[in-house]
C-alpha cells in the first residue's frame, strides 16, 4: 500500500547520494526493493519519480517549519529547522536546486516545479520577516533568503556551524532594519 511512499523515500536517498543523473533506474529501485514494473505503473517514467521526490521533499520541509523549532523567533526557527534538517538528511546542498541544475535543459517541468517551490519559500520568509518587524521588508526577506541558501550550499563543503553564522547574520540585519524604521 505505502509502496509508493517507500519508492519516493528510497529514491530520495538514492538521488541525495548519487545525484539525479548519476544513478540508473535499477539503482534507484534497489533503495526501496521495488520492481521496474511498479515504477512505471506508479510514476509513468523516471522523471515522474523525480518530480514526486521533489514535491515530497519541499512539502516535508515546509511542514517541518510549522513545528516552530528553537527559540529565536520566526526567523531563528528558520535556521534551527535547517540545522536539524541537515543533521538528519546530511548536507549535500539543496536537493531542489541540484535537480534544477541537472535538469536545466533536459526537463522543463522539473525546472518549473523548483522555481515555484523557491518562490513559495521566499514568500514564507517574507511572511516571517513581516511578523518580526511589524511591517513588510522585501529587501530584508531576500537577504535572509540568501543567508539561508548560502548556508545550505556551503554546509556541504564546510560544516554545520555555518548555519549558526547565517542565523546570527540574519539577526544583525534584522536589528539594523528595526533601527532604520525608528
Amino acid at each position: 500500500m505505502n509502496k509508493r511512499d517507500d519508492m519516493i523515500a528510497g529514491a530520495a536517498r538514492a538521488f541525495e547520494a548519487e545525484g539525479f543523473r548519476g544513478i540508473g533506474v535499477d539503482g534507484v529501485l534497489a533503495f526501496s526493493g521495488a520492481s521496474t514494473r511498479t515504477l512505471y505503473k506508479q510514476f509513468g517514467s523516471r522523471d515522474g519519480l523525480v518530480l514526486a521526490v521533489l514535491e515530497k521533499r519541499h512539502r516535508d520541509f515546509m511542514a517541518r517549519l510549522d513545528r516552530r523549532i528553537g527559540n529565536g523567533g520566526p526567523l531563528g526557527e528558520l535556521f534551527d529547522t535547517l540545522e536539524q534538517w541537515l543533521t538528519e538528511h546530511g548536507a549535500r546542498g539543496c536537493m531542489l536546486l541540484r535537480a534544477h541544475g541537472e535538469y536545466a535543459s533536459a526537463n522543463g517541468e522539473i525546472v518549473a516545479l523548483v522555481r515555484r517551490q523557491k518562490e513559495e519559500f521566499e514568500r514564507e520568509i517574507a511572511r516571517r520577516v513581516e511578523t518580526v518587524l511589524g511591517f513588510a521588508d522585501a529587501a530584508l526577506a531576500t537577504q535572509v533568503w540568501l543567508l539561508f541558501e548560502g548556508a545550505t550550499a556551503i554546509a556541504s563543503v564546510s560544516d554545520l556551524s555555518v548555519v549558526g553564522s547565517a542565523k546570527h547574520a540574519a539577526g544583525v540585519l534584522m536589528l539594523a532594519a528595526q533601527g532604520r524604521s525608528s
Copy 2:
C-alpha cells in the same frame, strides 16, 4: 596548440548547460569540434577533463577578482565581479558546487578539488574583510561568504538583482562589525 584550451572552454559550456552527468563524451566534444582520441590523449579520461574544467573555472574567477571591478572597496568588488561573471556566463549555480554534488560518491578527486577551491575562496574573503576592518574577523568573513554563495545559487531561480541585495547586506554586516569594535 590551443586545442586543449578549446576543449576545456567547450566542455565548460557543455557542462554548464547540461550538467556534468547529463551529457556524454561525444556531446561534450561537439562543443569544441575535437575528437575522442584527442580527449583521451590530453586528459586521460572524461573525469580528467572535468578536473581541468573546474581548475580553469576557479583560476579564472580568482584572476578576475584581481581586476578590482566596481567601486565598493575590497568587499564590494567581490559582488560586482560576481554580477559581471554571472552576466557573461549565465546564472546556473556555482559550477564547482554542482560538480561537488554530482560526483559526491563517484569521484573523490573532484570532491577534494572543490573543497580546496572553496577553502581558498573563503581565505580570499577573509583577507578582504581584514583589509577593510583593519583587523581579522573570521565570523564576518563566513557571513560574507554565505551571502556570496547564496546569491550565486539563487540567481539561477530568481534574477541577478539578488547580487546587489547580497552586496548591500554585506555592507550592513561590515558596519555593524566596525561599530562593535569601537
